[in-house]
Symmetry: C3
Subunit: 301 residues, 3 copies
Amino acid sequence: GDGRMGMIYDGNDVQFSSRARVKFTMTGESDAGLSFGGSFRVDQENYSANEYRSAARGTAGQVWISGTYGKLSMGDVVSASEAAIGDLYEIGYTEGAFAGDIEEISYLTGDGENLDQGANILYEYGIEGFTFFASATDGSDTNLGSISPGANVDDELNASSDDVAYSLAAKYEAGNYNVGLGYGKHGDADEIVLGGEVTYDQFSVKGIYAKYSDRFTGELDAEEFDSTIGLAAAYQADALLVKGFWRQDKFKYDVAGDEKFDSFGIGADYDLGGGATLAGGIIDSDYLDDTVADLGVKFKF
Amino acid sequence: GDGRMGMIYDGNDVQFSSRARVKFTMTGESDAGLSFGGSFRVDQENYSANEYRSAARGTAGQVWISGTYGKLSMGDVVSASEAAIGDLYEIGYTEGAFAGDIEEISYLTGDGENLDQGANILYEYGIEGFTFFASATDGSDTNLGSISPGANVDDELNASSDDVAYSLAAKYEAGNYNVGLGYGKHGDADEIVLGGEVTYDQFSVKGIYAKYSDRFTGELDAEEFDSTIGLAAAYQADALLVKGFWRQDKFKYDVAGDEKFDSFGIGADYDLGGGATLAGGIIDSDYLDDTVADLGVKFKF
Amino acid sequence: GDGRMGMIYDGNDVQFSSRARVKFTMTGESDAGLSFGGSFRVDQENYSANEYRSAARGTAGQVWISGTYGKLSMGDVVSASEAAIGDLYEIGYTEGAFAGDIEEISYLTGDGENLDQGANILYEYGIEGFTFFASATDGSDTNLGSISPGANVDDELNASSDDVAYSLAAKYEAGNYNVGLGYGKHGDADEIVLGGEVTYDQFSVKGIYAKYSDRFTGELDAEEFDSTIGLAAAYQADALLVKGFWRQDKFKYDVAGDEKFDSFGIGADYDLGGGATLAGGIIDSDYLDDTVADLGVKFKF
C-alpha cells in the first residue's frame, strides 16, 4: 500500500490533503511455466458505483499472462505508446496531482481513455535491448453488464466508442539511455510519439514529442489538440532528488489560429528511509489561473 | 482471489473481457470450540453506492457460527433449496456469465433475491449422509440504515418485501450420488425443487426439476414462471473436462397460453496447473437473439 | 477484521442484522526512527460513490507520522475534544447502532463532521500523565478532485464549510482515573466538554458534560443544541460485562423555550473467547418512538 499527508497551495488557500491506499497483487505459475497474475487497488473497485473503474468488470487494475512469447495484459492497461515512452517526471508529495497531473503526456488510447469499450489489451515482447508493444480495444461498446461494460451508443450514430483504438510502439534500451517511438489510432485521430531518456552520473534528462492528427477536443471553434513537446530533468545527490519539467501543448482552431500552453514544474524529494519521502513541488501552468505548490510526506508500505 | 481474461462473442462482436477480484475469509474459534467466520470480496463492499451489495450492511458476503448443532450463516446467503440442490454446470472461462448465467436455477428465495429485507439466514445440519437446510428472511423491510437495509415500502401497500421468505430442504449423499428436495415460499408464490447427481467413473450427470406456483413475473398478460427442467453432464479425461447442459423453462399466460424457452450449452476446461485453466463455451438460448461463446483463461490465486 | 450477526427489535419488528468488515493497517519506520502508518476499512473506500467516505481522497481512514515530538494524523480523524474524552459505553452486539449510536457525544468538529473541507488533522503530545490534543480543518472547501474534496460553496454565501473548525483539549490519566477538558469552535458555534472516568475494582464510571453556544441545528424555531450531560457505568464479573448509560440533551428555541431529550441504555457482553462475544442491549430514548433492543454475537478476527 501507500499513503501521504501534507499541504497543497491551490493558488488561493492552503489545504490539507492525505490518502491511504492498499494494492493487491496476486501471482501464480502454470505447470508449463507460464506466469500469470492480477492486481488492483481497493479504490479501483467501484462495482456498483462506476462500471468504468471496477477491477471485477475489467475496467480498473489488470490481469496478465507471461511466458517466453511475451506478456499479455488485459484491463485498464496503458497504450503501447505510453508503455514505451511514459510521462515526464512527477514532482511533489502528491506526484503532480496538485496541478492536475500536468506531467502526464496525453496519449490517444489506453490508460483509462477507451474503457467505454470495456477491457483493453497490451502485448509486450522483449529481445536484445528492444521491447515491442501493441495495444488495442475490441471495437465494440456493447454493454454486457459485469463482463464487458460499454457506452452502448446507438450504432447509427457512428460513435468513436465503436471504433477500434490501437497503438504500436518500440523501445530500445542501452546502458545509460533509452529511446521509444509510438503510434496510436482511434477513429480519424492518430498520434506519433517520440521519446528518449539519458542518465549520466547523477543527472537524468528525458524528452518527449507527441504529434496528433485530427484529434478534435469537442470544444468550440473546432479546437484540435495538435502537439506536445516536453522535457524533464533530475539530479540525485544522496537522499535528495531535485526534479523539474517543462511542456508546451499546441492547439489549432478554425478561426482563431493557434494557441500554445506552457507548463513548468520544479520539485524535490528527500528520502527519509523505510519507505517515507519528504517531497514538495511548485507548478506554473497556462492551464491554471495560479501557481500551485505542495509539501508533505509520502509513504510506501 | 481470482482473475480471468479472454474473449466473448456476443452474437455480433468479439469483445475482450477480464477481471481481478480479491476475497477475504476470516475465521476464529471460541473457547468452547464454536468456529465462526466471515467472508466477502472487495467488489461486494459498496457501502455508499449500493445498500444491497455491501458486506458491512449484511447484504453481501456472510458471517457464520458453527458447532455440533450445525452451522448458522447470515448475510447474502443462498436459500435452503439452493444449498441442497444448486445449479447446472458452469461452462466457459466466464463461468456462464457470457450468456447471463443461464445455467443457474431461479430459486424463489435467498441468494440476492430478498435483500430488500436486509440480511437473510441459512441453517445447515448434517447427520449420517443427510443434510437439512432452513433459510428465511425476517419479514420486515423497515430500513435501519447500515444495520438493516430495506425497501421501506409503505405497509398499506402489502409489499412482498414485508412477507417472510423461507425455504426448507434436505439432501442425501451416498458414495457416488446425491439427491435433494427443496421447498420455498414467499408471499403467495412457492417452489418445489428436486435434484440429483450421479458420478460414474469419469462421467457426472445432474438433473434438476423446479415447479413454481403463483410466481408472477410482473410482465404483461399475467406472465407466470411455471417450471424449469434442467440436465447437465460432464466428462473428465486427465486435464480436460467437457461439460454441457440443457434446460427448459415454461411460462404461462392468461391469454396467450404457454410458452417454453430452451437453452443449451457446451464447453470445455483444460487445467494448466497452478490455478490456471483454459476454458471456452458455447451457449444457445431462446432468451438470447444469438448464439454466444467465450474463450479465455481463468485463474485462482 | 470484524463481524457480527444477530437480531434487532426496532420497536415493531425483529430484524436480522449482520456484517463483515476488513481493516487494513500499514506501518513503517524511517531511518531516523519516525514511525508512520495508514489505516482504513474496505467499506471506507468509496472512490466513485462518495468523495466524503474515501480513504484514497483523505476523507475516511487516516495516515499518521509519530515521533518524540508527538503524533500527527490526517484524514477522517476525531477532534481534540473527542480524542481526550470520547463517548459513553457502547452496548449491544451492534455497539449502539440499533439505537442510532445514541451513546456517542455530538462533538462540534472532526470525526466526519468537517469533511466538506477535505482531510482534517489531529496532533497529540503526551508528557507525564498529560496528553494534549489539537485538531483543525484547513478552512477551505475548494474542491480539488481526488486530492482535496470539498463542498465548493460560493464564497459570497459565507458557508461554514469555509470557516476553520478547530479543537483544543487536554487529558490527565492517573492510576485508576482520568479527566479531560476540551474546547471546539466552528464559525460562531463553540463547545466546552468536560469528562472523567474512574475504575474501582470491577466497577467503571464515566461522566461527560458538553455545553454548546450558538450551535443552531437549522431546524424550525431557531432550534439550538444547548448541552448534553451523560453518565455511563460498567461492572465486570469474569467473562460477563454489564454496562449502562444515561444521557440528557437540552435544546433551546426562540418561541417554544427549552426541551430535554433523555436516553437510557443497559446491556451485557459475555466473552466467549477467541474473539467472539455474545452481547445484547436495550435502549429507551426520547428520540425514538419505541424502546429498541438487540441480541447477537460479535467477532474480532
